[in-house]
Amino acid sequence: AQTVTQSQPEMSVQEAETVTLSCTYDTSESDYYLFWYKQPPSRQMILVIRQEAYKQQNATENRFSVNFQKAAKSFSLKISDSQLGDAAMYFCAYRSERFVLRGYWGIGNLYGSGSRLTFGEGTQLTVNP
């Protein structure tokens, strides 16, 4: 079974500065996906960024970028130019890249496995003005 660990329960950053949130995972699989989700006080989970394990290039989305180290099983999130609206709980998540086909409708274990997410414990980010 896969596990995801976020070792920083809380982090803080000054507005306009850069912060890095850590995530490590454990898996025996070679193909998978990694995600960072953000949960602001409204509790609405929002996808921040995703990374395919077969891609060597680190994903970026505007001010958000990742440092994906496959051998080390590390997937950190860097937030540049932090804004007050970035304050939230951040979750790292893992998804197995199980090969599924529509023809396998009804074979539940095979079909359903590919979409499951395994989450880390979360890191509460505070942004100070």
Partner: protein, 118 residues
């Protein structure tokens, strides 16, 4: 925009009561999920469903059951609520692409239901 709605934002129930948490998505997604979120534990998968009337146990299914009679609706049922089921419950849905479950299989979350069992 994908919309996932949950029937209640806050719910207070008594021990032993039967509790229904409802989730509805409007994007014709095949997959639907129920998670519970607890401080220091992140989100843990309770059950998921990949088709109408189909369900799979997640990591912590004990004390819960689910129902998916229609594609857009996925219900979580606590047959006899207990205090250790006090938690935040999050529903999510995702679309299976035609042939491979690629990274476009993003999970979209509802706003959550904070359940308190007294």
């Amino acid at each position: 925009d994908v919309k996932v709605t949950q029937s209640s934002r806050y719910l207070v129930k008594r021990t032993g009561e039967k509790v229904f948490l409802e989730c509805v998505q409007d994007m014709d997604h095949e997959n639907m999920f129920w998670y519970r979120q607890d401080p220091g534990l992140g989100l843990r998968l309770i059950y998921f469903s990949y088709d109408v009337k189909m369900k799979e146990k997640g990591d912590i299914p004990e004390g819960y059951s689910v129902s998916r009679e229609k594609k857009e609706r996925f219900s979580l049922i606590l047959e006899s609520a207990s205090t250790n089921q006090t938690s935040m419950y999050l529903c999510a849905s995702s679309l299976i692409p035609p042939e491979r479950a690629t990274s476009t299989d993003t999970q979209y979350f509802g706003p959550g239901t904070r359940l308190t069992v007294l």
